[in-house]
């Protein structure tokens, strides 16, 4: 191959490193450190990464010339920077959180995963994006397998299959797109050809769109305690970033987002595993972001990105609190928990902060971002021909009430209050408390001083979340939801928490797939057996016929000639026997061969 690979970088930017490499290479070196040095080293990786990031100027850097391709390894703009900031922040917090686990697999996988996410969001073209997109799958599946339980192994394999399929779909889309446009640029796309549709669908798998979502609720609760925190931050948010970059203003996304926001509410209410409740809640929150991207106005895209930023923090915080509960009690089901507020008061407090943030209480982070998306939908619905968006707004309102119910109330209530399960455990370890404390502080800080978040959003922000209308509407919604919860609980109508498996769309490939296999096996196996029997009988009959066919033909011809010449009795039998044996051994009388040849010529002559 004559193609030449040349790495080029602006001389002025020679000191800027790819954020992805700092994490991926840095993470691979973690196992070589021991004791306190390892902790310090791990904490330094995201710190160094962040310091590097804030010094990288906007624009394209680090070009890779590969044949005719000019691949851009690092593209920095306001959209990618926003995601870059929060990915570094959550990586730093999660590293503090997992310092006590002493699990090198988890450490390496976590850094590799975070690095892959950074590589994807800073990718300057579709090919580099795809490479890091696939690396994202590798890192995340290792975080699931690192738990080393049979359930985690099985869930990890299912996760791998789904994401490998999604990656192939994305790759097919990129190939189609390149063959039609000749461009690998990561820019605005419309759903107009097979390439853009396939990429859209491939990103949708990672975004956990309805029906494509079960990989998330299946795998995240099976990951390690720290792994679930990592997972909650990167995969879906990278997909949200990709949608914001490639498909803003795509109407279809509004309806997909509405579905994402609404359907998980019902599953989360009846789910017993509290980390799975959070997984459903994650889909619900990503739904708000997808709606915002679908609306596509500056306010909506800002709202979607701000909500992604906040969701990483408060969802990470909630996963951390549930991880701390799991770490201390060994339990995560609502049926096994309750009354932990006495034993784990700080964890309980941080959980309530996370719950208030995800529920969008005023002064908490969710409020300042979710209301942007809601306002964008409301503004858009006033436009001519956009009346259907009133329905979207109402569903989002329902989803906002629902998320308060399952993530805002159910999680803290069943873990820390409710019935006392009798666990008398220690408070979470100090490193976990520090990590949760930082995340909780940021949730309150952003909710109270949103202008700092607004200043890093992709578009200039002209929005005031703390208007009387917003605060009053949201407060009413939340208090009525709380009231509904109390009344349902007091009246005994609230569904019981049950140790059960809830059927979801994964039924189609977990149970339905098995049934399809049995049906196809029932049809195709007999067909296969029948074909085999026919072929065998034909083959054996042919073998029987052709085994001694020349000898029989020779006998038939010769015996008739001998009879003409009056040969009879024992002598005839002797000659028959000799001729048969000779013919079977491949030797024939010369006269017979010549007679056969003459016979053939006569036959051909007659037929002509």
């Amino acid at each position: 191959m004559t193609s030449e690979i040349v790495m080029a970088a602006d001389t002025a930017l020679a000191t800027d490193l790819m954020p992805a490499l700092i994490f991926m290479v840095g993470g691979l070196l973690v196992p070589f450190f021991k004791g306190r040095a390892k902790s310090v080293y791990m904490l330094l990786i995201p710190v160094v990464g962040f310091l590097n990031l804030i010094h990288i100027p906007l624009g394209d850097h680090h070009h890779l010339f590969f044949g005719d391709f000019n691949l851009v390894l690092l593209h920095v703009d306001r959209l990618s920077l926003l995601f870059g900031y929060i990915f570094h922040i959550i990586a730093f917090i999660t590293v503090i959180y997992i310092l006590g686990f002493k699990n090198d697999v988890e450490y390496v996988a976590g850094f590799f995963y975070a690095g892959a996410a950074l590589g994807a969001i800073f990718a300057g073209d579709l090919f580099i994006f795809f490479v890091f997109w696939e690396a994202l799958t590798l890192g995340s599946v290792m975080l699931i397998w690192a738990r080393k339980t049979p359930k985690a192994q099985a869930a990890g394999f299912r996760y791998l299959l789904v994401h490998a399929f999604g990656g192939l779909v994305l790759l097919a889309g990129i190939v189609f797109h390149y063959s039609h446009t000749g461009s690998l640029e990561m820019s605005l796309m419309t759903l107009s050809g097979p390439g853009s549709w396939l990429m859209f669908f491939g990103i949708g798998i990672n975004c956990a769109w309805p029906i494509l979502h079960p990989w998330l609720t299946d795998a995240y609760p099976e990951a390690t305690i720290g792994g679930a925190v990592f997972l909650s931050a990167f995969t879906t948010k990278t997909a949200v970033y990709a949608l914001a970059r490639l498909y803003p203003g795509t109407d279809l996304l509004i309806w997909i987002g509405v579905g994402m926001a609404a359907f998980p509410i019902f599953y989360a209410v009846i789910e017993n595993d509290l980390r799975r409740v959070l997984a459903y809640s994650l889909i619900n929150q990503v739904g708000f972001m997808v709606v915002g991207i679908g609306i596509g106005t500056e306010l909506a895209v800002n709202g979607a990105c701000a909500h992604a930023f906040n969701d990483i923090l408060f969802k990470g915080l909630l996963f951390m609190t549930m991880g701390a509960v799991m770490h201390r009690t060994g339990k995560i089901n609502a049926t096994d928990l309750g009354g932990l507020y006495k034993s784990m008061p700080w964890t309980c407090l941080f959980c309530i902060v996370g719950a208030a943030s995800i529920s969008a209480f005023p002064l908490f982070s969710g409020f300042v971002s979710k209301s942007m998306v809601m306002s964008a939908v409301a503004h858009m619905s006033h436009n001519p021909g956009q009346g259907a968006l009133v329905f979207v707004w109402l569903v989002l309102l329902f989803a906002a009430a629902g998320v308060f119910h399952h993530a805002g109330i159910k999680i803290p209530f069943f873990a820390f209050f409710g019935h006392d399960a009798g666990h008398r455990v220690k408070e979470a370890p100090l490193n976990m408390l520090i990590a949760m404390g930082i995340a909780a502080f940021l949730c309150v800080f952003i909710g109270t001083f949103p202008q700092y978040l607004y200043s890093v959003l992709p578009f200039p922000v002209d929005y005031e979340p703390y208007s009387i209308s917003h605060v009053l509407t949201q407060t009413e919604l939340l208090f009525f939801s709380a009231l509904a919860f109390c009344l349902l609980l007091l009246s005994g109508i609230y569904p019981a928490e049950q140790r059960a498996v809830n059927l979801d769309a994964d039924w189609s490939y977990r149970i339905g797939g098995k049934k399809l296999y049995h049906i196809l096996a029932g049809i195709l196996n007999p067909l296969n057996t029948g074909c085999e029997k026919v072929v065998r009988s034909v083959a054996s009959a042919s073998a029987f016929i052709f085994k001694d066919a020349p000898a029989r033909i020779a006998l038939f011809v010769s015996v008739n000639i001998w009879l003409v010449f009056g040969i009879r009795g024992r002598y005839l039998e002797l000659r028959k026997s000799r001729l048969y044996n000779d013919a079977m051994e491949g030797t024939m009388p010369i006269g017979l061969g010549a007679a056969t040849a003459v016979g053939f010529f006569i036959l051909i002559y007659i037929l002509n």
Binding site: F414, L487, L490, G492, A496, E497
Partner: protein, 44 residues
């Protein structure tokens, strides 16, 4: 070792609390009146 660790609860029911009905009726009525008030005063 917690004594409850070895027996896992299969179902956590929420039995009705005695006396909830009057509370329910009062709160629900107030809520409905409030919602009606809001709707009447909202611009179309």
């Amino acid at each position: 070792m917690n004594p409850q660790d070895d027996k896992e609860l299969m179902e956590l029911k929420h039995d009705p609390v005695p006396g909830y009905k009057p509370v329910f009726v009062v709160v629900f009525t107030i809520a409905c009146l409030y919602m009606a008030f809001i709707l009447c005063h909202s611009p179309l």
